[in-house]
Assembly symmetry: D2
C-alpha cells in the first residue's frame, strides 16, 4: 500500500445541539423555576450580561446542556493526550478490527522543533533547515520501515491486534468526540496557549491544532458564550 | 398564596440531538476509520443488526453521542434519587434565589401505599380507602402548616435560604436534565420495573413515573435502539 | 418519639489513604517513568516546591490518588447541594428502608438570617432577636407538625417511602462520602468563602460548615498540599 | 542505549484503603443511618450475605469507598485501551518531559497469534513456529529502526515531544492508576475473559494480563467481595 505523509489535523463538526440560548434557559430555572420560553425576546445585551455573570462567578452547570460531536483525524500521540479528558465521549477506529492505513503525521516547515527552557515552561524555536530535514527524513524512514514490518506480519497471517504493535504513535487515527460546552472550555483552557489567558498553558502544538479548530466551530455555534469565555481570561467555569 | 396539591410528574423533551443513525456512525468508525456518510442508504435490517450486536456485546460508547435535554417537574424526594445519577447534567430551581411556590405532591388513589416483604424485594398493595384518606389528609395538613411557617419567616425578613428549611420533600421542584442515550439506559434499567428486565429493580413509584416519560420520549427519537434495549432484557450496555 | 432540635453538622474522617507523598510519586512518574521510592529522603523544601508548581500550573491529576472517606450528618438541604458534586461517592441513609429519626436542624443564634444585596453577591446580617425567635419558633412548629403526620401515616400502615414526603428538608440525614484531594479542592473552592480566595464564592452557611470540617481534616493529612492550595488563592487545579 | 525486548506487564499494588468491611459500613448507613462500628463482630456469613445481596441487586455505590493505587508498566497499545476507562485516575510518564527508554514488548511463544472468526467473537490459535519467528523478527527490526531514528533526532537537538512520534505503540510506558472496587469490577468484566462470566468479553490478551494481576491483588484485599463478584457471573454492580 502506498504511504501517505502529511501534516495538520482534520476536525469536522458532525452535529450539535448548542446555542447561547441553552445557557439562558438553564440558568433561569434557578430564579424562575419554570420552563423559559421567551429567550427570543431578550435583548442581546441581557443575554450577554447573564452569560458573563455565570462565567465570572463560575456557575459551570448551565454550560453543560450544549453538546457537539466532532469527527477528528489526528496522530495517535494527540489521541493519547486527548483521551486524558474524561468528560467526553469517544469512538475511535480500531487496530483490532481493521487494517490501519499507512497515513503518518510529519512536522511541516512551520513546526517549531527546538525546545528551550525547563519543564512546564518551555518555549520553542523553529530550528534550522538541517534540523527540519533530519526530522522529516527520520519520520519517513521510521514509518516506512514500520509499515513494511506490519504488512509482513499481516501477510503471514498474524492477527491485526498483534501486528499493529510496530506502528508508530505518529500514525493517524480517526474518532468521533462528543463533548459539552463546559468540557470544551476546560479543553481549550488547557490545550490552547493564548496571550489573553489568565492561567498559562503549554500544550503540545499538535493537540493545539485540534483545539484551534474546535474553538472555531464552537465560537460559531455559541458566539456570546465564546466571547464571555475569552473576556474571562479563558478560565473554564 | 394559594396552595396547590397534585399528583404526577411533568417531563417535557426540550431539545435533542439523538437518532439511531448516531449509533451507526460511531460504531462504524471502529471498522472503517472514516467519517461514514451513507447511513441513509442502509437497510433498516442492517442498522438493527448492528445496534443489537452492540447492545448484546456491551459496547456502550457508541450510545453516548445521542443527547437529550428534558424539563422535569417532580417532588424533591424524586430529585434526591435522580441526582444520584452522576452521568447527567442538571440545573434546578433554587430556594436560595427565589421564593418556592406552594405546589405539593400528594399520592393519588392509584398509588399503592402498603409495602409487603423485606428490603430490596418489596411488593406493594393499594391499601384501604381509609389509608388513602389518612395519607391525603396528612400530606395536606403538613404542607399547609409548613408553608405557613415559610411565609411567616419570609414576612419577617428572614432569608429564603433559611426559611425554606421547613418545606417538605414532597414540594415540587423543576430542573433541566441533559443525558445521553447510554445514561438513559442506565437510568431506565434501575428506575423502571419491567417484567421483561433481565435484572429486577425496585424503584420508588414516583421516580418511575419520570422514567416512563423519559422512555416514551427516547423511544420516539431512537426506536431501533430502544427496541434493542428491551430485547436485550433492559441491560444497559 | 421525642424530637431533637440542634444546629451544626457532624463530620468524621472514617478512613483515608492520603498524604503529600502521594502527590510526589504521581507527579514524578512523568519525568522519571519509574516507581519512585525515595520520597522519604526528599527535603521538605523540594516536596513543597514541586507541589506548589503543580498547583500553580494546574496539573490536577497527581492530586487524585489521595482519597478520604467521611461520615457526615447534615440537614437534607445541605445534601441536596453536596450531591451536585458528581466527583464523589455517596451512601446515604434511606427513607425507604428505615423510619427516619426526628432530628432537625434549626439555625442557632450565630446564624446570620438577613440577606442583603442581589443574587450571586449576597451579604448577610445577623438579624434581630425577634427575627431569630420567629425562625426558631417556625422551625420547631413546622417540624413537630410534620413528624406527627409522618408517625400517623406509619401507624396506619402506610409505607415509609410514601410517609416521608411530609418531612422537611431541615431533617438531618447521614451519609458516607468518599472523595479524592482534587475533588476536595474543587469542593472547598466553591463551598467555602475565604478572604484569600482568588475567585469569590457565596456558599450557604450550612454547607460551608461541612467544608470547614473537611478542610480541617484534609489539612492534617496533607499539610503541604493544603498550604499550596491556600497560597494559590484556593484555585482548584 | 541498549534495547530491551520483553513480554508481560508489571503491576504493583502501591497502596490501598480497601476492605470488605468498607462495603458493610457503606451499605448499612441506608438502613441504620448511623456510623456503624461493630463490623468486627459480624459473622463472616452475615458479611458475605449482605455483600452477595448488594452484588445481585446491583447496588453499586457501597463498593466505591474501597480504593487502590497501582503502578503499572505496559505497552502503549495497552494504555490506549486502559485509558478509555474514565472512572480511574492516571499519571503516566511523559514523552514530552523525558527521553523514553528503549524497552519494547514482543509477544512471547505463548501468545496466540492467529485470529479466527469475525469481529466481536474472535478466537485465537497459537500459530506456527514460523509465524512466531516472523513476528519476533518484525518487532525487533521495527523497534530497533525506530529507536535509531528517535536517537538521531534527539542528537540533532529536536524536541523530545516531536522525536517520540516515530516510537511504536509497543513501547513500554509506566503509570500510576487509582480506582475503586466498583470501577475494578467494571474493568474486570470487560477486560478479562472468564468461562464463568455471565456476559462474554473479548479483551486483547495484553490488557487481560493487566486485568489478571489487578484481580489477584484485589481478591487479596477484598476476598468476600471478590467471591461475590465471581459468583454473580462477573457482572459489575
Amino acid at each position: 500500500m502506498e504511504l501517505e505523509f502529511r501534516s495538520g489535523v482534520d476536525v469536522e463538526l458532525v452535529k450539535s445541539s448548542a446555542a447561547d440560548s441553552d445557557v439562558i434557559f438553564a440558568a433561569r430555572v434557578s430564579t424562575q423555576g419554570e420552563r423559559t420560553r421567551e429567550v427570543a425576546e431578550d435583548t442581546e445585551k441581557a443575554i450577554s450580561g447573564l452569560i458573563n455573570f455565570l462565567m465570572r462567578e463560575r456557575h459551570g452547570s448551565p454550560f453543560e446542556h450544549s453538546v457537539m460531536t466532532f469527527y477528528v483525524k489526528a496522530p495517535i500521540f494527540v489521541w493519547r493526550e486527548h483521551m486524558r479528558h474524561r468528560i467526553a465521549s469517544y469512538n475511535e477506529e480500531s487496530g483490532r478490527y481493521r487494517v490501519l492505513e499507512p497515513c503518518f503525521y510529519v512536522p511541516d516547515e512551520d513546526r517549531k522543533l527546538v525546545q528551550i527552557g525547563k519543564a512546564g515552561a518551555y518555549t520553542f524555536e523553529l530550528g534550522t533547515p538541517e534540523q527540519h530535514k533530519i526530522t522529516d527524513d527520520s519520520f519517513r524512514e521510521a514509518c516506512t520501515q514500520a509499515y513494511q514490518q506490519y504488512e509482513k506480519m499481516l501477510a503471514a497471517g498474524v492477527a491485526r491486534e498483534v501486528a499493529r504493535g510496530v506502528l508508530p504513535v505518529t500514525t493517524y487515527s480517526s474518532a468521533y468526540v462528543t463533548m459539552n460546552a463546559r468540557a470544551m472550555m476546560n479543553f481549550l483552557s488547557l490545550r490552547r496557549s493564548a496571550p489573553d489567558s489568565h492561567f498559562p498553558s503549554y500544550p503540545q502544538r499538535e493537540i493545539e491544532l485540534v483545539a484551534e479548530k474546535y474553538e472555531d466551530a464552537w465560537a460559531k455555534l455559541m458566539p456570546i458564550t465564546h466571547s464571555a469565555f475569552v473576556a474571562n481570561g479563558r478560565v473554564a467555569p
